[in-house]
Amino acid sequence: MDQSSIQGTIFDIQRFSTHDGEGIRTNVFLKGCPLACVWCQNPEGIDPKIEPIWLPDKCIYCKACSDYAPAAISWDGDNLVINYAYQGDWSKIIEKCPTTALRFNAGKMTVLQLITELKKDEVFYKFGGGVTFSGGEPLIQIDFLELALIASKQRGWNTAIETALNVSWSSIERVLPYVDTLFADFKIFDNHEHMKHTFVSNNLIKENIGHLLTSEFKDKVIIRTPLIPIYTATKENISMIAKYISKIYPEVKYELLNYNPLAISKYPFTNLTYCFSDMNPTAYTNEEMLYFQNLALESGIRNLVKI
């Protein structure tokens, strides 16, 4: 395949992103993920398909869409019903919507198009910023990702990726030379629990962590555990993970991410259910964060990453 025609499926590009790497960054969210964590922060990024979606808050009910394509769009009272079986040109229908309430949940881009977009904030990358590829799982679009990373490095940008590591080691190996920081999630240590809440086994993930932390690139790696109440934020889980990774590489960098209760607001636009639909917990306080951080330190972590 001609490299210039390789396209990525991207569901968001966020400028002025101030997490996930140093300085002011642009985050590229690649669509599709082999995991389906029940607390997923970007649930719209799990399914690799590009589909039309409808955002009721933006709709002015002008019916321009259903008037144009009644076979594709119908109404159930005030609810718009999308006929996913419709085989016509969806982009023509979406173009009719004046408010963009009806839109695609992602788009395709070539590497050149993406770099053109990323270049807009190049001046900010000069002063400690860069680009971060996130998802979904960026590594499942490995051909696109590799080219995008190479192009970014050619421009001298700092690069980071965020991965859950449930991909083949050969994919990871391909990007490592072009990545300044690799954020790798290790969510749940117990495999049974892992399968229950993410729907995949963590065997491959553990294996990849082993490879990473013994490779020449081990200092680029930051292992992360998102603190999700009940699911990951338990004494046993944090201690086990911390012991496991520090045993492989005592200088491993480890970060605990505070729970972000805002993710729940994304779920109405998907057909997924959030793990805390009824009683959404709040983020952990500084004291609580300190408790978890101490657990990690007591379990052998020497380089705790804090922001």
């Binding site: 002025f16 997490h19 300085g23 004046p98 963009t100 400690g128 972000n260 805002l262």
Partner: protein, 790 residues
């Protein structure tokens, strides 16, 4: 600096500012009127000088026993001063309404109103600036007023940075002697000028001595000097004032005191908006250094003196007419101070005073002074971080200026390199050289969006249905333009005409200032007026610019992009239908309005399609303007800073093609995008703004951004913000400022103003108390986009 504290004395003084009731005062108006009456035979410049001297000799003065720096133009704090030479008609019309008006109210005394109507107003009816301009030129000014607002019609020109360094070196006695020596050998026509300078300096000396006497008296009054601390400081004040009334200051304390007297006297002479001290870290430093080296003061002592000066800056407000108060809401008086920046050799300039000023701002968080920091590539991380930490506390200050943008832009206006390197800021964000410039900022505000409206309708005002006289009627309208180029050429032709008419009106106003408001005292601190014997209003300054504001490029760009894309490029809607939608204020056209809002690129999102339209028209305007010279022989140049005028300037514009409803505010700031339309985040905003060439804002540009406090919560975030500002420098954007506030706090403050009385907010290039702003402006500030929510 971290261990420095705000003393009890300073907290007490700060508290008193809030507890004081603001009155409109006619005390100086009486003195001025009496003096003019007694000197009818004298030339205007002498009459004015005598009026200033009489005011300095007789105005009631007061000293608060907790003060370290003294002096005010009224005995009460934050009084509004009726100033008859500027204008009495608006005062006459609005006097009773002053206590109840929505913006900037003042209490009044009934007997003052009567005295004013019987004794003051009748004398000035044909003499004040306002009356003369009204009588001679009101037709010409009113005929273009839907598009152009001409300023400085009822008050003296401000926005000036005097030569404080010379003032401190020579003092009133030195300047008096200098004027005397020039007087001996000067040609006849310059004699009145020099005599007038001498008169005002005599007044200044007496004024300062009166404070020495009063402080002396109070120090011996045991009911006032009732603590040892008070007695000591009153004696100190007396000694300081006695010394500086006729000699140059020896100490830091004396220098700051003499500096403050300069600004009080300038206000008493002109009652103008904004005289700015400029780079005080530069010219006060030698006094500070000497005291520190001698061990006569500590940093803490110096900070208390700086903070005392900060308190004084907040004790003078400027009373405007109610119309003007809407444009400049919340008493901006513009004691602008510029910290840091490049020195005369192009190296980074910073010292203890720079840091002490930031510390004072951190402690006090009051609307004045208008604190500015000059940034450049060599500014240290430490200084930027310190400044950001002060910004994070929420007063919107310091604001940041960019040497990399400003210095070349000033050079392009013919300013010498050494002067450009030493630039300071006056008022809000207006750029100036120090001590040699009558910049005549904000001479007029040109409402580009109203002009576009009138071009699209063929000259019919959407709000009043009136036909506008000077819009060419043979160019068609949006329904008949066959392509975008036709629209642009009609717009250009109308713009050319209105610029020509505006220039005439500006000349009328300037000529009236020369005739009615010669300013001898001010001229003595603007070079080279004194050596040349030419008053500053008559062109005596080294630099004589006039600044015209473009209102607002953001909306203009968005509007033009909407028409270009939807009507001409994609043909989604006809010109006739679009025009109908505007005429009906989008009633019945919501899908079209939504299409405009969601489907057309908007300025502020780093999209060339729309950004280039804004740039193109701003440059057209600037180039057209540069064909003219002002009345003093200097350049017209452009600025993009609305102050709070985006609210009233929006009130007169009908529904606009950018999807804005009739009468809604325009974009705030001057370079800022329309609120709620910048969806790509702050870096995209900076990128869009950076496409406006720096030479478009040689009079000043203003970029407002709002961040949530949580963005600044840790060292990591502060570092990120440093890199944001480094990119700002790199992008050659002239100015940026930040409101750091939670939306919820503003909403609460609206509901419960008493609890939030000290909450300060960045309005435009200045900070005001949020609860002192009219509701419409408060609402607009709440609606501005916030960043930092993740």
């Amino acid at each position: 600096m971290d261990d420095l504290i705000m003393t009890q004395r300073i907290s007490k003084l700060k508290e008193k500012i809030h507890s004081n009731v603001r009155y409109a005062s006619i005390e100086q108006a009486k003195i001025i009127t009496d003096t003019y009456r007694a000197n009818e035979d004298k030339p205007k410049i002498v009459q004015r000088a005598l009026a200033l001297k009489a005011s300095l000799n007789r105005i009631e003065i007061s000293i608060d026993p907790d003060e370290l720096i003294v002096g005010n133009r009224t005995a009460g704090i934050r009084y509004g001063v009726v100033f008859p030479e500027g204008g009495t008609t608006w005062v006459d019309e609005e006097f009773e309404k002053l206590p109840t008006r929505a913006q900037d109210p003042f209490e009044v005394n009934q007997e003052d109103i009567i005295y004013f109507r019987e004794n003051i107003k009748p004398y000035w009816e044909t003499k004040s600036l306002e009356d003369v301009i009204q009588e001679r030129y009101s037709n010409e000014i009113n005929e273009i007023s839907t598009v152009v607002k001409i300023n400085q019609k009822d008050h003296a020109q401000g926005h000036i940075c005097p030569d404080s360094k010379t003032w401190l070196a020579k003092g009133p006695q030195g300047l008096l002697e200098e004027a005397e020596s020039y007087l001996e050998n000067c040609p006849e026509e310059k004699k009145d000028f020099y005599k007038s300078v001498i008169i005002t300096m005599e007044g200044a000396i007496t004024f300062i001595e009166r404070y020495a006497d009063l402080a002396n008296k109070l120090s011996n009054d045991s009911t006032i000097a009732n603590t040892e601390e008070r007695k000591i400081s009153l004696i100190k004040i007396a000694e300081n004032c006695q010394h500086i009334s006729r000699k140059s200051p020896e100490t830091f304390h004396e220098a700051v005191q003499l500096l403050w007297f300069l600004f009080v006297i300038l206000q008493m002479e002109s009652n103008a908006s904004s005289f700015s001290p400029g780079r005080i870290d530069k010219f006060l430093y030698p006094y500070y250094k000497k005291d520190i080296d001698n061990g006569t003061i500590t940093k803490q002592d110096a900070l208390e003196i700086v903070e005392s000066l900060w308190i004084k800056f907040n004790q003078i407000v400027y009373m405007r007419n109610s119309h003007s108060a809407k444009f400049f809401a919340g008493f901006p008086i513009g004691f602008n101070i510029a910290l840091g920046g490049l020195d005369e050799k192009g190296n980074d300039f910073l010292n203890d005073i720079s840091y002490l000023c930031l510390k004072a701002q951190e402690h006090l968080g009051m609307p004045q002074p208008n604190l500015s920091v000059r940034l450049h590539e060599k500014t240290s991380d430490e200084f930027i971080e310190t400044a950001i930490k002060v910004v994070a506390r929420g007063s919107g200050m310091p604001q940041f200026f960019n040497d990399k943008s400003v210095i070349p832009a000033l050079r392009e206006q013919g300013i010498e390199y050494v002067d450009a390197l030493d630039y300071a800021i006056v008022g809000c964000v207006e750029l100036t050289t120090q001590g040699n410039n009558l910049g005549w900022s904000d001479a007029a505000m040109f409402n580009l969006n109203k002009l576009l409206e009138l071009t699209l309708t063929g000259g019919v005002d959407l709000l009043t249905s009136k036909k506008e006289k000077y819009i060419y009627s043979d160019q068609g309208d949006l329904a008949t333009f066959s392509n975008f180029a036709e629209l642009e050429s009609a717009f250009a032709k109308n713009m050319d005409r209105y610029i020509g008419l505006m220039i005439k009106a500006c000349e009328y106003v300037e000529s009236a200032h020369i005739e009615i408001l010669p300013t001898a005292f001010l001229s003595s601190v603007i070079n080279p007026c004194l050596s040349e014997g030419i008053d500053v209003t008559a062109g005596g300054a080294k630099y004589n610019l006039s600044g015209i504001q473009m209102i607002q490029v953001a909306n203009l760009a968005d509007s033009l992009a909407a028409i270009k894309l939807l009507v001409f490029d994609e043909k989604k809607v006809s010109g006739a239908e679009f025009l109908e939608a505007l005429k009906s204020n989008f009633q019945g056209y919501e899908p079209l309005r939504q299409m405009i809002l969601n489907r057309v690129p908007k300025y502020g999102n780093d999209n060339d399609y729309v950004d280039n339209l804004g740039t193109r028209w701003a440059e057209y305007f600037k180039n057209r303007l540069s064909l003219y010279k002002n009345y003093r022989g200097g350049n017209y140049h452009t600025g993009m800073y609305t102050v709070s005028a985006h609210v009233p300037m929006g009130e007169v514009v009908g529904a606009s093609p950018d999807g804005r409803f009739a009468k809604e505010p325009l974009a705030d700031g001057g370079m800022s995008p329309m609120y709620g339309r910048d969806l790509e985040g702050p870096t995209a905003v900076l990128k869009s703004v950076s496409k406006l060439d720096k030479n478009l804002t040689s009079n000043g540009g203003l970029l407002n951004m709002k961040f949530l406090p949580k963005f600044f919560e840790n060292e990591e975030s502060i570092k990120r913000f440093v890199s944001f500002l480094r990119a700002f420098v790199e992008l050659e954007i002239p100015h940026i400022q930040f409101n750091v506030v939670n939306r919820q706090d503003l909403i609460e403050a609206q509901k419960d103003p008493d609890r939030y009385r000290s909450l300060t907010i960045r309005v435009a290039g200045y900070t005001a108390y949020f609860t002192e702003l009219a509701t419409a402006l408060q609402d607009e500030i709440i609606a501005r986009t916030s960043y930092g929510e993740f």
